[in-house]
């Protein structure tokens, strides 16, 4: 071996590709895809395809965002906790890949699966376009898909962090789901909480920002929020993974 380290790119790609294969080889992966497409398709058909209804996918995007809240933690739960449980974490972290490549590779693998999940729903836009007159504006459809992608990517980063903290997939799923539901509840204003808690919850809660984006209201702040939130969560994942060596 002439080189001292393998760099970041190849190990990251290798991990991401294996992760996608593992998700597509698992029954849980296909169950998530099937459920998502069934429920999201049902929502699309029952609301956007009604005679006289506006040529908009807004309702679909809102509902799909809600589905992602429940389903992305299910995609993310196995990313690292399964490696821990099965004992494959040891050969992985003792390889030359490094914790940064492991974190990024796992995340990218999850993102690729998310793309796999969302891609078939582009057919809904095509169907709407073919049955509506006038055809729906491309702008809101594009921003709607962007909102779903950004929302899913943020949820995935949180789910990956939860998966790093435990070797139980169930616990990882519940931790991510409860964090997202708790944040949503606090941000909704229905709980009697001090003002600063409400403001903080609203500033870090992603769903409302995604909803604005899906409605075509594009704020730079909202666009910056998603990569920043996902980035911070990935840094936290990297830190937890690295700290394991000190235990």
């Amino acid at each position: 071996m002439s080189r001292a380290t393998p760099g970041l790119f190849t190990p990251t790609l290798s991990i991401a590709s294996r992760e996608l294969r593992a998700l597509l080889a698992s029954a849980a992966g296909w169950l998530v895809i099937a459920l998502f497409l069934l429920l999201a398709g049902g929502a699309f058909a029952s609301q956007a395809l009604q005679p006289g209804a506006p040529a908009s996918m807004r309702t679909f995007f809102d509902f799909a965002g809600l589905l992602l809240l429940w389903m992305v933690p299910a995609i993310a739960m196995r990313l690292l906790s399964e490696e821990s449980r099965a004992g494959t974490l040891e050969p992985l972290v003792t390889s030359a890949a490094g914790d940064a490549a492991i974190t990024l590779g796992k995340y990218l693998g999850g993102l690729a699966f998310l793309a796999f999940l969302l891609a078939p729903t582009l057919a809904y836009a095509a169907i709407l376009g073919s049955v509506s007159d006038p055809a729906p504006d491309i702008g809101p459809v594009a921003s709607g898909y962007l909102s779903l992608a950004l929302l899913g990517a943020t949820y995935l980063a949180l789910g990956l962090l939860a998966s790093t903290l435990t070797n139980s997939q169930t616990l990882a799923y519940l931790a991510a789901l409860l964090a997202l539901l708790g944040l949503r509840f606090l941000a909704s204003g229905t709980a009697a909480v001090p003002g600063f808690v409400l403001n903080t919850a609203r500033s870090i809660e992603p769903a409302e920002r995604a909803r604005r984006l899906a409605a075509g209201i594009v704020h730079a702040q909202d666009l910056a929020y998603f990569p920043l939130a996902a980035g911070l969560l990935l840094v936290a994942t990297f830190a937890v993974l690295s700290s394991r060596r000190w235990r």
Binding site: M1, A4, T5, I15, G87, R245
Partner: protein
């Protein structure tokens, strides 16, 4: 090639339990070294520190000239590791898994395929490399793990219980592969199978209670630490059965076997090492044969095995440390 200095590690925060108490050793650039010890001796902790899975509280580790604690990623690049029970991904084929592992070491495209193919050939995976890992036998899964450990051609290879759960034929095959690896690199093998270490290792390190209590070739360990022969084999002939051997039962376990033509082989296993150390048992056996009117043909001492030496070392480890006897390679 591996230099370990005063390695210490404790687990727990409120009441830290020491797992390693100042372990030091050096391994040369070639050869197979066995790491022995009972459960809880610190073998896994040592291996996990060497492979960078955990960090020690104190001490230093140098792998192939790289400070493994200061520059762990570069050190891991020079290390091949097969953890106990070879954890793999069952949904992948062996070939796909090896290419995935090649990617972790920065190899892609044709280089990854070539490295995977070379490692698979070296570990004699044959046509089974195209089969899903989940459908392979334990022995073949172990080979896949071994191939994954060496595919980036590391100068240091660490194998944790590589023969665990294998049948005798698979153990022999694994031993031969490890031997081949040891011809060109440093191989450290943790094992519970003392016979394996005796047969397949050039050198053995014995850990107990977090200390290194012995270090040498299996032959050296036996000659240095054995306190006497493991047993005496008495060849004698006479009328009837060797009932005279009953008189030796107080000091030895007696197993008699007829050899035909009034000849018997009587194996005497001393009930304590002290009795075996000198000649009293041989003298008493000879006297008993003579008193019974039998003819004595031979008295042959049987050398102790590494297992017997190992058990003796474990038995002696605690009193020695309490008396402050300095363990080999340890500073505790």
């Amino acid at each position: 090639m591996i230099a370990v200095r005063k390695l210490r590690k404790s687990y727990g925060v409120t009441r830290p339990a020491p797992a390693l108490r100042g372990v030091s050793f050096d391994l040369p650039a070639r050869g197979v070294t066995g790491l022995l010890g009972p459960n809880g001796a610190g073998k896994s902790t040592t291996i996990r520190i060497l492979t960078g899975f955990i960090r020690p509280d104190d001490g230093s580790v140098t792998l192939a000239g790289i400070d493994a604690l200061a520059d762990p990623q570069t050190a891991r690049f020079r290390l091949g590791y097969l953890p106990e029970s070879a954890p793999l991904y069952p949904e992948l084929t062996a070939e796909r898994y090896l290419r995935y592992r090649a990617g972790l070491f920065g190899l892609r495209g044709r280089r990854a395929r070539d490295a995977a193919a070379a490692a698979a050939d070296r570990c004699r995976l044959g046509p089974l490399r195209a089969r899903r890992i989940g459908a392979l036998s334990k022995g073949y899964r172990q080979r896949v793990g071994l191939a994954a450990a060496i595919l980036h051609d590391p100068p240091v290879v660490i194998l944790d219980e590589p023969a665990s759960g294998l049948d005798p034929a698979q153990i022999r095959e694994t031993r031969s592969m490890i031997r081949e690896l040891g011809e060109s690199r440093t191989v450290l093998v943790s094992s519970h199978l003392l016979s394996e270490v005796e047969a397949g290792c050039d050198r053995a390190l014995v850990l107990t209670q977090g200390r290194l209590v012995a270090d040498g070739s299996p032959r050296e360990l036996i000659s240095e630490h054995a306190t006497g022969p493991a047993a005496l084999l008495v060849e004698a002939s006479g009328p009837g059965e060797p009932t005279w051997a009953v008189t030796l039962r107080g000091i030895a376990r007696v197993v008699s076997e007829p050899r035909g033509n009034r000849r018997w082989s009587i194996r005497l296993e001393p009930s304590s090492t002290e009795q075996a150390a000198g000649s009293p048992l041989a003298d008493r056996a000879a006297r008993a044969v003579h008193d019974a009117g039998w003819s004595l043909h031979a008295v042959t001492p049987e050398s102790p095995t590494l297992e017997e030496v190992f058990i003796g070392l474990l038995r002696n480890a605690e009193p020695k440390s309490e008396r402050g006897a300095g363990p080999v390679g340890g500073d505790a």
